[in-house]
């Protein structure tokens, strides 16, 4: 898994609540057998017009969004299905972090396994960031995982929660399966005792 230490980037503002996984990547793109190459299908039905050309009104297509690694999105981001294709598509486009006031459980869990950091901030911080980013799309936001902090603008600084284990895995780029495999003996004992 890709390491995550610190990130400074401009952000893509998506001020919508309850963005579901069917919007992040519609089901018709789930017939793939690979996890790579899904970035082009990210937000597909919002991003492209009927003829397949870019929808100029959608934020991801705007020049100011190019190169951004942070998505700033409304509450309850990633609700809906368990498809890991959602974080794969976000990472495929180039995002490394999402700032929101809340994330759906399965989406959050999937993101943490793909080096995509869900950053949960208060409503007040979210509103301030959204206002600033919409006003000036070059506004840079810094996310530091070690100190669990978000800094931006003049003096905006806040912390975000993350469990110690996920933090450790992201900082070191450690894959969780390796850790799980280290419990082989305990798992065997559990199987002998209970199943």
């Amino acid at each position: 898994m890709a390491q995550f230490t610190t990130l400074t980037s401009h952000a893509v503002p998506l001020p919508e609540e309850n963005v579901d996984t069917d919007q992040i990547i519609p089901a018709r793109f789930l017939k793939v057998t690979d996890k790579h190459g899904l970035g082009d299908s990210l937000f597909c039905d919002w991003r492209y017009l009927k003829d397949g050309s870019n929808n100029p009104d959608f934020v991801l297509n705007q020049a100011a969004s190019q190169g951004a690694q942070i998505l700033l999105a409304g509450n309850n981001f990633g609700s809906g299905s368990s498809r890991e294709h959602a974080p794969w598509a976000l990472v495929g486009w180039g995002f490394r972090a999402i700032i929101s006031t809340g994330f759906a459980d399965i989406f959050k869990s999937n993101s943490l396994k793909n080096g995509l950091l869900p950053v949960e901030v208060s409503e007040a911080v979210y509103k301030r960031l959204m206002e600033a980013v919409q006003l000036d799309r070059s506004t840079e936001i810094t996310i530091d995982l070690q100190s669990q902090s978000v800094t931006a603008l003049d003096g905006l600084e806040t912390t975000f929660p993350i469990d110690a284990f996920s933090k450790h895995c992201l900082l070191e780029g450690i894959d969780q399966l390796g850790y799980l495999l280290s419990f082989d003996d305990q798992i065997t004992r559990h199987e002998q005792q209970r199943t």
């Binding site: 001020p15 919508e16 609540e17 309850n18 579901d20 069917d22 919007q23 519609p26 089901a27 018709r28 789930l30 017939k31 793939v32 057998t33 690979d34 996890k35 039905d45 409304g74 509450n75 309850n76 609700s79 809906g80 299905s81 368990s82 498809r83 890991e84 974080p87 809340g102 994330f103 759906a104 459980d105 399965i106 869990s109 999937n110 396994k113 793909n114 469990d163 110690a164 284990f165 969780q176 399966l177 850790y179 799980l180 495999l181 419990f183 082989d184 305990q186 798992i187 559990h190 199987e191 209970r194 199943t195």
Partner: protein, 469 residues
């Protein structure tokens, strides 16, 4: 010992390692896989040179991308064909039992688990599919996982898990005629919103839940995820045991009696506490329908849609306005009488025999309205056989509905069954997100009774006007 909840008991029995500041290692009793969310997990295993630890604890089916047109074992396109072929070769290589397309045991993953008796009280059950919550109806701890976690379970039969908080949803009272399990869960979604259960495992309790049969309970637990909760559970009781007894994979004879003794103990102890409780008065429930683009945007079918001033928060107002725009509906109006194009009866929420019987009860002696396309899609081959034995297929076909092969069908719209842009559908499935049933399609979620009544009238219809008049 402290009184414990059902969730706590299942958790305690399946925790392999639990240390502070780390996720617990949770043992998984049953792993269900399908074509869409498993290929990358098997690729991961191969890349690491790992085997499947307990292949007999994983069961595979094909359901998401498989077409449901009668009597044709075909595939939708080359990509789907390759994905199905990969599932087949993965199962063969790693020794996993597969209920492939054409197998008489094939069907929707959350339908066949209970049907074949794999789903049992006290089990931990996972699948790369968010509607795994369905299996919680049996008192199992069952939840959806991502593909990385599918790989974890294949390799170790375990998952790293943080313990969820507990939410009791107590539904007391007696449902009125034509009000169903689907209406209970749609009412919960409308009450707490699609993020309301985030971080929680729900336990459904109360007299109205006890009174439901297992299929109704599965409908309720199925849509726990639509209320934001990864899992929904119901304490096992006589209804549970009655359903399970004699099924393929449940214990038999003396083992059965011992299992029932164990399962009864799983019920939440008197005095156990939940982190939060929501109470729903079953006596006051009416048939529900959604009007917007997430399952929380629902109302009683006789009500008008909300108006803008009902939303205090600016972002909620914006979300409502966007939903109204997508649905091309006017705030404050009623949905009753709204012309529809399609009716879909099926999905892991409502494709079981009792759902089909409900729909057939409405269709019997009636016709689908002109210009309405109606699909009835059984959840499995067993259900299809049962329905045909009861003559339900003839009722559907005589009414002018299409009687299909089992599969996810128009719930996921990646298999040839989908809405056209702009069409309106009343669907018994679980999600009304933008484009969920086909790009540009518009979905009203409702019960099988409401869906069938709407098919007959060609417009959104309160089933009571057909059934109780």
């Amino acid at each position: 010992m402290e009184p414990r909840t059902l969730f706590q008991k299942v958790w305690d029995a399946r925790v392999v390692v639990e240390e502070p500041d780390r996720p617990a290692v949770l043992y998984i009793d049953l792993h269900l896989i399908h074509e869409v969310t498993s290929p990358q997990a098997f690729t991961g295993l191969r890349e690491r040179g790992l085997r499947v630890r307990r292949p007999e604890k994983t069961i595979a089916t094909m359901d998401h991308s498989t077409p449901t047109l009668p009597k044709a074992l075909w595939v939708i396109d080359d990509q789907a064909k390759a994905q199905l072929a990969q599932l087949e070769s993965n199962c063969k290589e790693f020794g996993i039992e597969l209920y492939a397309l054409g197998d008489s045991r094939n069907g929707i993953v959350h339908v066949i688990g209970p049907e074949r008796g794999f789903t049992q009280p006290g089990k931990t059950i996972v699948c790369g599919d968010s509607h795994t919550s369905t299996h919680g109806a049996f008192g199992a701890l069952a939840f959806g996982i991502g593909t990385s976690e599918v790989e974890h379970v294949l390799a170790t039969q375990c998952l790293l898990q943080r313990k969820a908080k507990t939410l009791e949803v107590r539904v007391e009272g007696q449902l009125m005629p034509a009000v169903t399990a689907k209406d209970i869960i749609l009412a919960l979604c409308a009450e707490i919103g699609t993020g309301g259960g985030t971080g929680y495992v729900i336990e459904f309790t109360g007299s109205a839940i006890r009174a439901l049969d297992m299929e109704g309970r599965m409908t309720v637990c199925n849509m726990s995820i639509e209320a934001g909760a990864r899992a929904g559970m119901i304490g096992p009781d006589e209804t549970t045991f009655e359903y399970l007894k004699g099924r393929d994979h449940v214990p038999q004879g003396a083992d059965w009696d011992a299992a029932v003794e164990r399962w009864i103990q799983l019920r939440t102890d008197e005095g156990a506490t939940f982190d939060k409780t929501v109470v729903i008065d079953a006596n006051k429930l009416e048939p529900m329908i959604t009007y917007g683009t997430n399952p929380g945007m629902g109302m009683q079918i006789s009500e008008p849609m909300p108006t803008m001033d009902r939303f205090e928060d600016a972002s909620q107002r914006a979300a409502f306005e966007k939903a109204m725009g997508y649905m091309d509906l006017q705030p404050g109006q009623r949905l009753l009488g709204k012309k529809i194009d399609v009716v879909f009866i099926g999905s892991c929420t409502n494709s079981r025999i009792s759902d089909l019987r409900m729909a057939a009860g409405v269709f019997s002696g009636r016709k689908v309205a002109d210009g309405v396309r109606t699909l009835v899609v059984p959840g499995s081959h067993d259900i299809k056989k049962q329905a045909e034995a009861e003559g339900l297929d003839r009722i559907f076909e005589e009414a002018g509905a299409e009687w299909r092969e089992p599969g996810c069908s128009m719930c996921i719209a990646m298999n040839g069954d989908n809405l056209e842009p702009g069409q309106y559908a009343v669907s018994t499935s679980n999600r009304n997100f933008e484009g969920r049933q086909g790009k540009g399609g518009r979905t009203f979620l409702a019960s099988p009774l409401t869906a069938a009544a709407s098919a007959v009238r060609g417009e959104v219809t309160d089933p009571r006007t057909l059934l109780l008049s």
